[in-house]
Amino acid sequence: MAIKDRMSGNEAVSYAIRQINPDVMPAFPITPSTEIPQMVSTYIANGEMDTEFIPVESEHSSMSAAIGAQAAGARSLTATSSAGLALMWEELLLAASNRMPLAMALVNRTLSGPININCDHSDGMGARDTGWIQIYAENNQEAYDNFIQAYPIAEHENVHLPIMICQDGFITSHAVENIKLLEDHVVKEFVGEYRPEEYLLNPGKPIAVGPYSVTNYAMEAKKNQEIALENSKAVILEVAKRFERISGRSYGLFEEYKTEDADYIMLLIGSAAGTAKQAVHNMRKEGKKVGVIKLRVFRPFPAKELAEALRNCKAVAIMDRCESYNGNGGPLGSEVTAGLFRHKVSIEAVNYIYGLAGRDFTVEDVYDIFEELSDAVENGKEVEQYQYVGLRK
């Protein structure tokens, strides 16, 4: 029986962590993810779970401790945001290359500077090439559902990689909304016990973790890691199917909203997708053929699947809540256009940067962008291919 409740995104993820009851959680507080270790500590103090909580002195240490615990054979996790994730940089790469299936609750917040506490995806996107699986959420429900699916994906024998479950700082982390929760025993059964085949604290079967690799073998190790990330795509879909059976909610690599006959599609990540869907819902009433694709899984990147989903539209607005400082567009813009080219899909593709450092993104912004796309296609108006939305003029 689903439990109807209302809670914030941070509460929802903490609730999922309580239900999963992992072995070890090292964490260091940083806005807007601070509530997660705070709430988990409260659950532990109240005897509602028995995770070993390690208060550390920095995020460098929280990730190091999580890797250490995971290598020892414990299911571990941490939570962070922004500069906290940046401080973990070296360890993020170690977690992935040492094939540690640990989980992270990332509450997306902009990176400095200017220093700011609000949402954009520059922290998560900055870590996009560290070898972690990255799954993004539109709302509290998805943050909760994605977290429950995290370990079954990460720990799968074909994967063995760390996983980041991301949600938008403040916009969903601090917003109280309706949610449907699963019962504790259903979650526990779904996630199962962690039984690693190989781990450090396994007497009689010694292994080495993180040793030096000579050039003769290092490249193969990297390729194996890449294969694991590719493998995770099928596993993510498999776990989603299994999750649908216990929850009734279905998930894929991305969600398509009214795209079947759409001439114009907006592609975006996170909470803004809900705003875009509402705008599309309104525009459809006026007969406009518009749709939304919400990217859920950014790593592994579903380039081919996205290219196919966009093949029959006339134009796509690729929305980046992150600046890449490469003079050419945002990370999603770069990867999607590369995917379109490789899969021989030739459509108008405009890359918009929006919502940096918490700048609001509204239903009206969505109308304007679709207007511009249709102007480009119908009237041949030249459109700047990489531009900002909602910038002060």
């Binding site: 806005t31 403040f170 916009i171 909304e177 309706n178 705003t275 509402q278 705008a279 239903v363």
Partner: protein, 201 residues
């Protein structure tokens, strides 16, 4: 665009405007509706102006932007009237509630000619009388429910008792005072709301 009933709260950091918005989401949820309650943070410090928002709807709420054309505005700190355009985008058929000892007539000149419903509540007086301290958010929450007709008084009072019993489990001595503050606010607003009903009838 329909995202249900939309409320914008204006307060200062530390006054409980965010808490009031979250509590309102809580009680509205109990009526079986879809809710959103969320803060917008500026600088994180006591006394800085903050905004918080509510959406309440019979349909699933998808929009995740701030609210620009609210049905109801609640001003928890009267001094904000001089620095923040509190009626910006407020619907003409909507209403604004201001925490002030002043009368409706005294406040009107500060509202940029706003034509909708204007209500004043002396939340400080109510709070000091009921609780012995100035915690304006309980009276302002009751005022939002009464003016916004979000739920019936009795149902609201019952939900709030349950909510306070949970929230103040470790300081049960403040529950009765908060309940009294809610009741007093409804009593104070009853007359003004009746007048309005007559006017619009």
């Amino acid at each position: 665009m329909s995202s249900g009933f939309e409320i914008r709260w204006h307060g200062r950091g530390g006054q409980g405007a965010k808490t009031a918005a979250l509590l309102l989401a809580d009680v509205a949820f109990q009526t079986g509706r879809y809710v959103q309650g969320f803060p917008e943070y500026g600088p994180e410090r006591m006394g800085a102006p903050i905004t918080a928002y509510n959406r309440i709807s019979d349909k699933k709420i998808r929009v995740h932007s701030n609210i620009y054309t609210p049905d109801l505005v609640v001003v928890v700190d009267e001094t904000l009237l001089h620095s923040v355009d509190v009626t910006a985008g407020l619907k003409e058929e909507g209403a604004i509630i201001i925490n002030t000892p002043k009368s409706r007539e005294e406040i009107l000149p500060l509202l940029n000619g706003y034509k909708g419903g204007v209500y004043t509540v002396d939340a400080r007086k109510i709070s000091v009388e009921a609780l012995g301290k100035n915690f304006p958010n309980s009276p302002m929450l009751a005022a939002a429910v009464a003016v916004g007709r979000i739920m019936e008084r009795d149902a609201f009072i019952a939900e709030m008792r349950a909510s306070y019993q949970h929230k103040f489990a470790k300081k049960p001595e403040v529950i009765e005072g908060n309940m009294k503050a809610l009741e007093m606010t409804f009593d104070v607003l009853e007359e003004a709301l009746k007048e309005d009903m007559k006017r619009s009838a």
